[in-house]
């Protein structure tokens, strides 16, 4: 903090950031993905219980490009990616900025397992682009990024690090705390990236349920060095079920006194044409933090809101 105006101590990280962005683009372009830009200002953000979109001139700044990206897949683009700024009110900390950069990509014809492999391949590609080996110095240790990366179901991770089950934690209202303060540090201590997979269905408003275990959602989170880096789903493609879930999220929002958004009609209409697909959002700022060895998100952006 306090370096932004004159910039010099942060400039090496901005050079690294630029190379990472260029490396990400090269990776997806080579795989036949269409790079898209969708509007940042939208009339109807998808209702999620704990994410607040900042109001902007009667509409809202998007908290993620998810709705527009899926509409493009529904319109016939089987592989799309976007790198864009996203906005979330009230999120500020050592790993959070209220305006931050997401990489989202969507791929038709696959499920969330294919995206786990693609995460591994993306990181391998970026390390090669940067001329780096698989050992990543991070907070006094070395993370081994060589794939394949271990996978833990949420149930396994809770048994191992939280001493309870996800269902009990949800019933007690402690699920989020146990993830943040037990599971995340536990995964971080592995010294390797790890996927946390198969969330309780109520923790994934936009994900498909597992056909063989409908109480679970086909969702994963990628953790690196204790940082939550990416969130992915096999996408829910059933407009009726999606509408019912949005209604539940809206009720939670009302109960918590959060803003009511207009109903996302066009999104739900297009969902009927969405082919089976999987999608993922990856925090670019946090990826730069990891590759730069930066302690805080402040060190990898040109300016923080406090410096403006």
């Amino acid at each position: 903090m306090g370096e932004g105006a004159t910039g010099s101590p942060r400039l090496p990280n901005l050079w690294l950031r630029a190379r990472i962005l260029q490396g990400i683009r090269a990776f997806f372009v080579a795989r036949g993905y269409l790079e898209v830009e969708t509007p940042h200002r939208v009339p109807a953000p998808l209702p999620e219980a704990h994410i607040d979109a900042p109001p902007a001139g009667g509409w809202f700044l998007h908290p993620s490009p998810e709705a527009c990206m899926k509409r493009l897949v529904a319109a016939g683009a089987p592989r799309v990616f976007q790198i864009c700024r996203c906005f979330r009110d009230g999120e500020r900390g050592a790993r959070h900025l209220p305006e931050f950069t997401l990489l989202e990509w969507y791929r038709a014809g696959v499920d969330y397992r294919a995206l786990m492999a693609e995460c591994e391949e993306l990181l391998v590609h970026l390390l090669a682009t940067l001329g780096r080996g698989p050992g990543l110095p991070w907070r006094g240790n070395v993370l081994d990024l060589a794939p394949p990366w271990p996978r833990f179901t949420v149930a396994e991770a809770f048994a191992r690090w939280a001493g309870t089950t996800p269902a009990e934690a949800l019933a007690a209202g402690t699920f989020d705390e146990l993830v943040a303060f037990r599971v995340e540090p536990g995964l971080g201590a592995l010294g390797r990236p790890a996927f946390l997979v198969d969330y309780p269905a109520e923790c994934a408003a936009l994900a498909r349920r597992r056909a063989d275990a409908p109480h679970l959602a086909e969702r994963f989170e990628l953790y690196l060095g204790g940082l939550e880096l990416a969130n992915a789903f096999s996408e829910l493609t059933d407009p009726a079920e999606q509408a019912a879930r949005f209604e539940r999220e809206r009720q939670k929002r009302r109960r918590d006194g959060r803003a009511d958004y207009p109903w996302p009609e066009r999104f739900l209409a297009d969902l009927a044409r969405l082919p089976p697909c999987a999608g993922i959002a990856l925090g670019v700022d946090r990826l730069v933090m990891l590759l730069a060895g930066a302690e805080t998100i402040d060190q990898v952006v040109a300016f923080t809101p406090e410096e403006l």
């Binding site: 704990h50 900390g93 790993r95 699920f175 989020d176 943040a180 303060f181 995340e184 923790c203 969130n231």
Partner: protein, 186 residues
């Protein structure tokens, strides 16, 4: 009232009728989950600390703290009496509440007293005070190097290191944040 989103390091809250300051603060938001505000709280009276995680929707009462300029009057060895410069009301502070400030208290020193619900709970001193040296070893003969120090005692009984050239009866400026000698005062 504060909301959970207002919490940060240094914010002072009233909990169970006692003032607390947030000493450490961490914002977390596990994917798609609720915002968590992990705080290390210090009781501003007892000094006790505890960790607690708050969530969005929690509300907090700001601690009713008031800082007033007062004059230090005297001590009976156990409690320290100060006087509000505007109301002339006198307050007593315990040795614990005074803390290290006792090393620098001379009659009529102006200090800032922190009050919670009109009870004094702590003091803050000026960064620099001037005190007279009442006892100091004589400088060793021929000792002219400026980095040579010796022990001296000031009028409050506080002992510190001073340069060899400073003599008994002289006044010196002391940095109250570090307890160290700054300069000689003519």
């Amino acid at each position: 009232m504060y909301k959970a989103g207002d919490l940060k390091k240094g914010i002072k809250l009233e909990i169970d009728n006692e003032p607390y300051v947030i000493e450490d603060f961490e914002f977390s938001k596990p994917g798609k989950g609720q915002a968590l505000y992990r705080c290390r709280m210090r009781n501003m009276i007892s000094g006790n600390r505890f960790d607690r995680t708050y969530r969005s929707g929690d509300v907090f009462k700001p601690a009713a703290l008031d800082e007033r300029r007062m004059t230090y009057l005297f001590t009976d060895g156990h409690s320290y009496t100060v006087m509000d410069q505007e109301s002339f009301e006198q307050y007593q502070l315990s040795e614990e509440q005074i803390g290290d400030a006792k090393h620098y208290l001379i009659d009529n020193l102006e200090i800032d007293v922190l009050l919670f619900q009109d009870r004094p709970i702590g003091v803050s001193l000026p960064n620099f005070v001037v005190l007279k040296i009442v006892r100091a070893d004589p400088a060793a003969r021929g000792d002219t190097a400026t980095n040579v120090t010796k022990t001296a005692v000031v009028e409050t009984g506080f002992e510190l290191q001073v340069p060899a050239f400073v003599a008994e009866g002289e006044k010196i400026q002391i940095d109250t944040r570090t307890g160290s000698y700054v300069t000689r005062v003519k």
